[in-house]
């Protein structure tokens, strides 16, 4: 069934709802966690973008914020947490270590979180300034806005 006026309007409404009420799961491990705390608190407030609510359960969150270095030992845990999240879900790789392993190119660190899970937005920096975090969040909101629904279930299978 091709997209028509009603489905695109519905898409827009759903996207609006989703992007302004992102419940994030802060998978915090290392130094970037300090900048995450700064971004979440009063000076740089992510709550004004609707993403203020931290849900510490993967089932209740839709944004996995991978903050800080992921060690090889921790990789299966990250995969489990990602798998437990329900659709629709997005992933932000926060910090150089999650983007590409950062300054740690050795036996113990995963060279970028995208080797394990798909990533939507990459925020570079070591650690990224809170303004960069907010910029990344806004970019994610843009992405959600342009993401349509998969209406194929409405198609007749013939």
């Amino acid at each position: 069934m091709p997209g028509n006026f009603l489905t695109t309007r519905l898409d827009a409404v759903l996207a609006w709802g989703r992007k302004f009420s992102l419940f994030h799961y802060p998978y915090v491990t290392a130094c970037c966690g300090m900048e995450y705390m700064s971004a979440a608190c009063a000076h740089f407030d992510i709550d004004r973008f609707g993403a203020g609510w931290t849900r510490f359960s993967p089932r209740q969150s839709d944004l996995l914020l991978v903050v800080g270095t992921i060690a090889q030992k921790l990789a299966p845990v990250l995969k489990t947490v990602y798998d437990q999240m329900t659709e629709p879900k997005w992933v932000i790789a926060f910090g150089a270590c999650t983007v590409s392993g950062g300054i740690y190119d050795n036996y113990a660190v995963v060279q970028g979180v995208d080797r394990i899970i798909p990533v939507d937005i990459y925020i570079p920096g070591c650690p990224p300034r809170p303004e960069m975090v907010l910029d990344g969040l806004l970019k994610l909101q843009e992405k959600i806005k342009t993401q349509g629904q998969d209406w194929r279930w409405k198609k007749k299978t013939s």
Binding site: Y27, V28, T29, A30, C31, G33, M34, E35, M37, S38, C41, A42, H43, T54, F56, G68, T69, A71, K73, L74, V77, L78, V81, I103, Y104, N106, Y107, A108, V109, C126, P127, R129
Partner: protein, 439 residues
């Protein structure tokens, strides 16, 4: 894979896993609990989830380059880690640091220490449910980080304290920034003490919980605020003064009972003492600012081809503070170990060669063969670096004596017999920092 706890657990008890991804596990620790209802019979703490190969990486980086890795150890007080590493190398080299650089180092260390304690207690209070305290303390931390950023260029991972001194002089407006930061922090501390000190819920969760006796603390190798909360007044700044700490007037707060509340209170009082130290540092560091003048670097290089230019060179904004006029006050003058001032590198051949040799592979900073151990007072206790040098441009072995490693080693014993809910404030009061614990 069966853990030791699982293998030994009684069949009727409940096994509960906390972490490694858990809001109150500070990111990266896993505590497995054997429960009888809500009471903990046994526990096993598993670390290593943030092991980033720091020690091995340092064997493969030059002495100058590995400074960035030290920032990321105890990432809430990065300047103190820089300081610990740099002072150990200076011990190996026998290098004397100029006085102004020493005062700047003390100021930066204390700013870092206050932000460490602010973060630790903010997280501890938030995990107990006091979210307001978290927001207030983060607000205060921002003012301190603004001061640090003004001078060093970065809020957190600064790599500012270098071998021989510091990277740049303080920003001309630093005094106003510091006074504002100190005033805000004092206000926040007063508010937080009003919120938590006599708060029945907070006291109920922390008073007489996880009591540590002084003998046991020493047996575990505890140092820092956690040791001082048990009553033993050991502080590296007092016991073996380094930099200018012997000229400063500050007290060492000591607790009585060694419980969670004492660990909280010792940190609060230590912050007040650190703010006192910061104010005392302002006087020796006061100086009137001078506007930078002179030739642009490109012009100066062109002019230097003919003859040495008499006019000073105006450096680009990211090199502010490291002008030649102030360089002798912030960096030691030993050409073998210290990068020469930029103006020399731009305009004289000797300066250029000296600069080049510092960064050429196989050259540069090369301490003589030997080993040294030096410790500074980190946010968590005695932060020691044991460095073995073989005379080459990279360390042969660099080992970090992480203070929170020993503190967390006692966690299993401290939570035995307590309730599940007691794990949170106990663990929070220990200030485990993953970067330092797991290296």
């Amino acid at each position: 894979m069966t853990s030791r706890l699982q293998a030994r657990a009684r069949p009727e008890s409940l096994l509960l896993n906390m972490g490694p991804s858990h809001p109150a596990m500070h990111g990266t620790i896993r505590i497995m609990l054997e429960l009888d209802g809500e009471r903990i019979l046994n526990s096993e703490v598993e670390v290593g989830y943030l092991h980033r190969g720091f020690e091995k990486t340092c064997e493969n980086r030059t002495w100058f380059n590995l400074l960035i890795y030290t920032d990321r150890l105890n990432y809430v007080s990065p300047l103190i880690n820089n300081l610990g590493y740099v002072m150990t190398v200076e011990k190996l080299l026998g290098l004397e640091v100029p006085e102004r650089a020493q005062w700047i180092r003390v100021l930066m260390s204390e700013l870092s220490r206050v932000s460490d304690h602010l973060t630790c207690l903010a997280a501890m209070a938030m995990e107990c449910g006091a979210f307001t305290v978290f927001l207030y303390k983060m607000k205060a931390r921002e003012f301190l980080w603004d001061v640090i950023e003004q001078t060093t260029g970065a809020r957190m991972t600064t790599s500012y304290i270098r071998v021989g001194g510091v990277r740049a002089d303080l920003h001309p407006d630093f005094e106003a920034g510091v006074r504002r930061g100190v005033a805000e922090t004092r206000r926040v501390l007063k508010d937080v003490r009003g919120l938590l000190d006599k708060n029945k819920i907070f006291l109920g969760r922390t008073r007489d919980i996880a009591v540590m006796t002084p003998e046991n603390a020493v047996a575990y190798g505890w140092t820092g605020p956690c040791l001082r909360s048990t009553g033993i007044a050991y502080d590296v700044r007092r016991a073996q003064p380094y930099l200018t700490y012997d000229r400063l007037d500050f007290e060492i707060p000591v607790g009585e009972r060694g419980d969670n509340f004492d660990r909280y209170l010792v940190r609060m009082r230590e912050m007040e003492q650190s703010l006192r130290i910061i104010e005392q540092c302002l006087k020796p560091l006061a100086r009137t600012a001078k506007a930078p003048t002179g030739l642009e670097p490109a012009e100066a290089i062109r002019a230097a081809r003919a003859r040495r230019p008499e006019q000073p060179v105006r450096l680009s904004p990211n090199l502010e503070g490291s002008e030649k006029a102030v360089y002798p006050e912030i960096m030691a003058g030993d050409k073998r170990y210290v990068v020469p001032p930029k103006e020399d590198a731009y305009t004289t051949i000797e300066g250029l060669i000296a600069h080049f040799k510092q960064f050429m592979k196989g050259h540069g900073l090369r301490p003589p063969k030997g080993e040294a151990y030096f410790s500074v007072e980190g946010g968590n206790g005695e932060l020691g670096f044991y460095i073995v040098s073989d005379g080459s441009d990279r360390p042969y072995r660099l080992h970090l004596r992480a203070p929170c490693f020993h503190v967390v080693a006692a966690l299993e014993e401290l939570i035995r017999g307590r309730y599940v809910a007691d794990v949170i404030p106990t663990f929070g009061s220990m200030n485990m920092i993953g970067g330092e614990l797991d290296r």
